[in-house]
């Protein structure tokens, strides 16, 4: 995704290495290469590439990953603000 980097220092993805079982699912499901599992433990190697889709946390059997998941869509966030509820897109 060269040329497609978004804002830095905002992604909410966190990894509790103590709970990591080293299964490697996070690295498999992430479409942006945020994780690497070099030696039986996952590491976050590119947090700023994270789009907070939530695939890693969803598929982590050890519940080692937390992320506030959602869709990075301005229309959806605006709808949420205007309706005073959760972000919702029309797609």
């Amino acid at each position: 995704m060269n040329g497609f980097r978004y804002l830095e220092g905002v992604a909410t993805v966190r990894l509790a290495e103590a709970s990591c079982t080293g299964c490697g699912m996070c690295a498999k499901v992430c479409p942006h290469g945020v994780f690497s599992v070099p030696d039986g433990k996952a590491r976050i190697i590119d947090r700023d590439a994270c789009m907070e889709c939530g695939a890693c946390a969803m598929n982590c059997p050890g519940n080692a990953i937390t992320v506030s998941p959602g869709v990075g869509c301005a229309t959806s966030i605006l709808n949420g603000w205007l309706s005073g509820s959760k972000p919702s897109c029309a797609c």
């Binding site: 980097r5 498999k28 695939a55 229309t75």
Partner: protein
């Protein structure tokens, strides 16, 4: 057995299984499929563009053949089946309300519960001897692989992001090469998404038009119909240019415009268009109108470009919200000053 309509044109027979006959899929697209895709790209009949969720067969599958899972959006379905020429497989289509895999996973419709439900309802365990499902990688935000195993006994293997890699994935023993696990956002794909951006804006623009023409009538003679028409069409042209800047030019040029925030990218394109327009019509517009153009066009383009974040596969909600909190006040201030410049320019005659 639920009826399957042959009028849909992508089935050519049945495969007998212990769970009953399963319809077989044609792996080639026809002209009407291409036309259908083009129509939904423009938002025509998008909500109805879906197929029956159930188990299908590709080629001549046997009980050992792999099971591919997908969404019941017809465009998704076509993207998958056209890659299945020469492949013998089962295809389990989930009910995602006619939404693609990625968006449905984000909403949870392409989700753990629906996978378990559809596996059970289709009696997949009677059809195949193995216990493995191949899901598209972009379904992972909605599906928990370990919970699917608990729920129905089937293990989940995440396949490639794109259907075009599915043959290679199967041939390589269900292994996805690293590049098959990454999303891309090439020019052709960005272009194919722009019509929906424009279509989505038609309604708000329609609502804004009466206000625009009413404001345009304000002039030295209190209200003038000819002024309303002249200044109104000029304002509409500025609005249209701003929309094209934000919904077409910015998406197409996305990776080459510096800055990461979409609002800044859009404002930059809008400023370029505004400066070109003002230079082109420098004999026709006064200084206040020029200021109005220079404020209005970047504001519209910036706002519209910001909304393209929803169409991209790389913007995070935390990032978009941060950007919006900063950009919207600036966009609103620019729009307000544009209206002030515009009206005072008209009053000054």
């Amino acid at each position: 057995m639920e009826p399957v309509s042959y009028r849909e044109g992508f089935l050519d027979g049945w495969v007998e299984t212990p769970a009953g006959p399963v319809p077989r899929v044609v792996a080639t697209l026809r002209a009407r499929d291409i036309l259908g895709r083009w129509k939904v790209r423009w938002g025509i009949g998008r909500g109805r563009y879906r197929i029956a969720p159930r188990l299908y067969a590709a080629g001549n599958p046997v009980p050992e053949s792999p099971v591919l899972v997908t969404a019941n959006y017809k465009m998704t379905w076509d993207a998958l089946r056209k890659e299945l020429g020469g492949v013998d497989a089962w295809i389990l289509v989930l009910d995602t309300d006619g939404v693609n895999v990625w968006c449905a996973a984000g909403k949870g419709a392409f989700g753990t519960d629906e996978v378990v439900r559809r596996v059970t309802e289709s009696r997949l365990a009677d059809v195949v001897t193995h216990r493995r499902l191949i899901l598209p990688q972009l379904g992972a935000p909605g599906v928990s692989a370990h919970r699917v195993r608990k729920g129905c006994g089937f293990g989940v293997t995440y396949g490639p992001v794109y259907a075009r890699d599915i043959k290679r994935f199967l041939a390589d023993g269900m292994k996805a090469a690293p590049e098959m696990r990454r999303v891309a956002f090439p020019l052709a794909e960005r272009l194919s998404l722009t019509p929906m951006e424009i279509v989505g804006l038609l309604k708000p623009v329609g609502l804004a038009l009466p206000v625009l023409f009413l404001l345009a009538g304000i002039g030295p003679g209190v209200f003038s119909l000819s002024g309303a028409w002249q200044r109104g069409t000029a304002a509409l042209a500025i609005l249209a240019a701003g929309i094209l800047g934000g919904a077409v030019a910015t998406p197409l040029l996305l990776p080459w415009i510096p800055w990461k925030a979409f609002s800044i990218k859009g404002a930059f394109i809008g400023a370029l268009l505004a400066a070109s327009g003002a230079a082109l019509y420098r004999d026709a517009v006064g200084p206040l109108q020029t200021l109005a153009i220079l404020s209005a066009l970047p504001a519209v383009s910036s706002f519209v470009a910001m909304n393209f974040t929803g169409a991209t596969p790389f913007t995070s909600p935390s990032g978009v919200e941060k950007e919006m909190r900063r950009a919207i006040p600036v966009q609103a201030a620019l729009a307000a000053s544009a209206i002030v410049f515009w009206i005072t320019g008209a009053l000054a005659g």
